[in-house]
């Protein structure tokens, strides 16, 4: 079961993302990946800290 195994699944999300980024951005992939990681980190941290709620509550456009 997944609990007993310390090894991650054969295909790790991080690796898959890196491969996708390489396909999209070629040799610039590491630079874009780093910029995106920093930005996502800021977004996640702000959301954790400030607990923003969606506005408007109901989407305007479905």
């Amino acid at each position: 079961s997944w609990r007993s195994s310390a090894a991650p699944p054969s295909e790790r999300p991080g690796e898959r993302r890196a491969a996708e980024m390489k396909k999209l951005y070629g040799e610039d992939a590491p630079k874009i990946l780093a910029m995106e990681a920093a930005m996502q980190l800021t977004f996640d941290r702000n959301c954790d800290l400030k607990q923003p709620k969606y506005w408007p509550v109901i989407p305007l456009k479905l």
Binding site: L24, Y25, G26, E27, D28, A29, K31, I32, M35, E36, M39, Q40, T42, F43, N46, C47, K50, Q51, P52, K53, Y54, W55, P56, P59, L60, K61
Partner: protein, 94 residues
Amino acid sequence: SIPTSAASEEDAELLSEEQHARSVLRESFLRCLLSMTNKKVQFNMYEKVKVEATFGASDIDVLNFQVSDLHTPIGVQKEALIRCRDVISFTFDI
């Protein structure tokens, strides 16, 4: 007809051109989002909704904007998430 090797060489060249264009465009866009941090931004949304807020951050898939001091038609919401799908355009000054 074009021999396969030449065709695949052309494909590879096109792919690398496309990758380069994509990374140039993306890097500029990410810089634009970064430059918005702590700036007043006016959002022009569907249903003729116009609101102003202080920009915090965007997720990298451009699905949500995290903002503060959102001036809604019924008052100020201190912290909010705006769905990018609700937005037509937004404006800020540099």
